[in-house]
């Protein structure tokens, strides 16, 4: 078996809220190999998105270890994690999370700039072209439709050519047709750049496009489903 690009060992996540401490993830151990597409499925509140956040270093696991591209994320500080994502990961969210005060072009160029790329804007423009937004580069997020905003988010995630793409229900806020188009783009980008894709989704037809599906129930891997290939 190839070397895993993402490796989680006995990961737990518990968060404190107003109602007290809530256990989100319980002893998750999971490997994702380079170039693989993995679908994370499960009912609402099962911990799919939290698991994705832990994989991206956006959430720190309460215990256990998380390794990505050979780095132990559990041992890294906030800024090291940020630099690691900048160089290795792209994240796409259900709510797009574009910076409202930046145009589409600026949003896409930002991670490239942060990486010190001299051609940040040229690359950003190419990426926007690739997602069909070449004509709307100077528009602010508020001036774009939901589908267009998600295409900008996709372009932003893909622009630095990340080795890992994390997508958290990227079509959750979109209608069927637009969602379909976004998924085509996502998989197209993944195919073009050969990145590893971890996709959180509720939609069975999207999950079925992945190489492997992992099902979460109450913060635990559903052993019955784990390892099942599409």
């Amino acid at each position: 078996m190839a070397e895993p690009i993402l490796s989680l060992r006995d990961v737990t996540l518990s968060l404190s809220g107003n109602a007290g401490r809530v256990e989100i993830l319980h002893g998750i151990s999971l490997d994702v190999t380079a170039g693989e597409t993995l679908g994370l499925v499960g009912p609402s509140g099962s911990g799919k998105s939290s698991l994705l956040m832990v994989m991206g270093g956006l959430e720190r696991a309460s215990s256990g270890s998380v390794a990505a591209a050979g780095h132990d994320l559990s041992a890294m500080g906030e800024d090291s994690l940020a630099r690691f994502r900048r160089d290795t990961m792209g994240v796409v969210f259900q709510s797009f999370h574009l910076i409202p005060t930046m145009t589409a072009l600026e949003n896409v160029a930002t991670p490239l700039e942060l990486a010190g790329r001299a051609d940040a804007f040229e690359r950003a423009a190419e990426e926007l072209d690739a997602v069909g937004l070449g004509e709307r580069m100077d528009h602010y997020p508020a001036q774009l439709s939901g589908g267009e905003q998600q295409r900008v988010a996709l372009a932003r995630a893909a622009a630095p050519r990340p080795r890992i793409l994390l997508a958290d229900e990227p079509t959750g806020n979109l209608d069927g047709t637009t969602g379909q188009a976004i998924m085509e783009l996502l998989f197209g980008l993944r195919d073009r750049h050969g990145a590893t894709l971890v996709l959180v989704t509720h939609a069975p037809e999207l999950a079925e496009r992945c190489d492997r599906i992992v099902r979460l129930v109450d913060g635990r891997l559903d052993r019955d489903a784990a390892g099942a290939a599409a």
Partner: protein, 836 residues
Amino acid sequence: MNLPVAARIARRELRGGLSGFWVFLACLALGVAAIAAVGTVRAGIEAGLAREGAVLLGGDAEMTFTYRFASEDERAWMEDASEALSEVVDFRSMAVVGEERGLTQIKGIDGAYPIYGELTLEPEMPLEQALAGHGAVMERVLADRLGLAPGDGFRLGTQDFTLSAILTREPDDAGDGFGLGPRTLLRTQALEGSSLLAPGTLYETRYRLQLPEGTDVEAAKAEAQALFRDQGMRWRDARNGAPGVARFVERLGAFLVLVGLAGLAVGGVGVSAAVRAYLDGKREVIAILKTLGAESGTIFAAYLMQIGALALLGIALGLVLGGLLPLAFAPVIEARLPIPAAFAIYPAPLAEAALYGALTALLFTLWPLARTEEIRAATLFRDLVSSRFHLPRPRYLILTVALLAALVGFSAWFSGVPHLTYYAAAGIAASLLLLVLAALAIRSLCSKLARARWVRGKTPLRLALGAVGGPGGEATSVVLSLGLGLTVLASVGQIDSNLRSAIARDLPEVAPSYFVVDIQPDQLSGFLERVEGDPQVSRVDSAPMLRGVLTRINGVPAREAVGEHWVISGDRGVTYAALPDSRTTVTAGAWWPEDYAGPPQISFAAEEAEEMGLALGDRLTINILGRDIEAEITSFREVDFSTAGIGFILTMNPAAVAGAPHSHIATIYADPQAEAAILRDLAKTYPNITAIRVRDAIDRVSEVLAGIAAAITYGAAATLLTGLVVLIGAAAAGERVRIYEAAVLKTVGAARGQILAYFAIRSALLGAAAGSVAILCGGLAGWAVTTFVMETDFAFEPVSALAIVLGGVLATLLAGLGFAWRPLAARPARVLRARE
């Protein structure tokens, strides 16, 4: 519109508490508090002046004559009208100890002084004992300057005196007005033989009357004026014991209230932003209410009631703060005031402050409230409210204009200086407009710069430029609030520095070294010989000097003819000349022939004549030494008072007045290093004359100006404080957005240092923008006041300007970075998930 329903909605909405409204409350409370505090202090001083009027005046009434004592008739009337009468002689002279000389304001008193109040001396002793024989008391500042201690001797004119004690408190000091020299007090009879009260010498006599209980002061005044006004008598009574101080306090108070209004305008910006943010958060509620059938009017009324209730709370907080602060600091304020004050809660200034607060709150919340009408039920499904700026409906525009007119109208009425109010209101409005335009320009510029090639790769800078220039930024409210606060400060700085430089730096360059008064006619030739022969003296001007009161114009009492004008407010210098001198420019009419001996003629100062509406051929009645002289205006001439040289409003032909006893005045223009020797020589040869060192007088005026500038700076600081509250409010309101931005930036790979740099640059950009616009507005205000009010040249003062820009940058930086920690510390996943 359904008002009962609106009221119920408002009540239910307010149950949510006041969180999110602290900026609204603080802005309104601070603005109202500043105005209430200024008004309360002013009312306290005015009450103190009124209560102590008789003490400040030195009697229930005072009759003043210029360089003469009261005639027998006048004295008989005063004795008849009063239970006690005190005669005071007031003039300037030089106190001499060996080679040391000091200008002093001498007060010669009789045994009845003081009728009211008490004098305190150090060491303590009865006044009678201190002034026995040739005893005198003087203020410590003069004694120290001359190196005198109680028991030492000094000379006035040709008479030796002994300093018995230091004068530490003089009850009628504030009523005597502005004096150039420290006070020396002695018995008038001790001046005999001093050669200081010779005919023609410049002095005033003041007769203080203790009126019998129940005297009709107004009737007594009317009788005295009917009998003696035409003989040059001036009347004052305890109803306004220190008119100069009262007028000064009233003017300064009015000016500070206007500064306070600028503060309220700054607060208004914060109030407006707070209401806008609150209503933005209520869009869904409003859409639901509309879905349920609420009319626009009902919704408008519901939110107006909520904002109204909050405004009342803010105003109440401001009134409590503004009313109580002066009371809390009363001992400190009283200790620093040279005049009595009676601090208490005065309803009138509080009501005035409340009115300003209510009008401002309504003015600044009207437009955001008007936008509630534009929210449609469909907002629930999609965002239909355009973020583009557009004017509200006409009825709100009309209401805005009406509120603005009411605010300016009330301020003009309450301040008592309508012109100043209109200028100040126009200044505030123009500044706000300029700041709005500047904010738009800055946003547009930043937006363009954010896309410039050279900022690519400089991520924090590009992000900052994008944030300032992008949609929904806080640029406008920060530039407006901080900018207006800094504008007030910059204006004060520019006006103050120009005023001071005009008086303290430029004036001495053109002003004479000495102003010499009381030169007797027989001393003039010797005096001129001494100074004109001195190689270090570049110029000497002299003129005969009488004092006269312009009582009638074309037979009509002067006040009825021209209203209030400073030329007729008291006695003025009158001179005579056979020929105009080389520096005189006659602008209209013709000068009398050199040997003219016909009916009296007058050459009048052209500018003042125009202000008073005088024309050639008008007949003026001038009372000199109790005698009326009627003369015709036959020419107008230019008189320049700005150089502190000799300048007379009234010049007459010699035959008209030369016979009256008079002295001469002179100005000496000399090298600064020669000044001391000239003074020593003149004082030795002519002990009766008084030489006023112009630099000393300028220093004294500068001191007073510094005090005024300090008071106004405190007022401006209150405005700035409100600006800072708005700034902090804007930073706090933006915190959620910053947290979100930081989370997204961290997700795409930004380190905290880069995010912090972005926040810092953005804050600094906004601060620099506000500071720069403030300097532009402050410079314009400074230029306008300097050019049109002070009529001097304007010079931009860079140090305070730079300090203001740096202050603006620092303030926004601190506020911005103060609210940067949470965004930097927040975990991206939780922030982003919360927005899903």
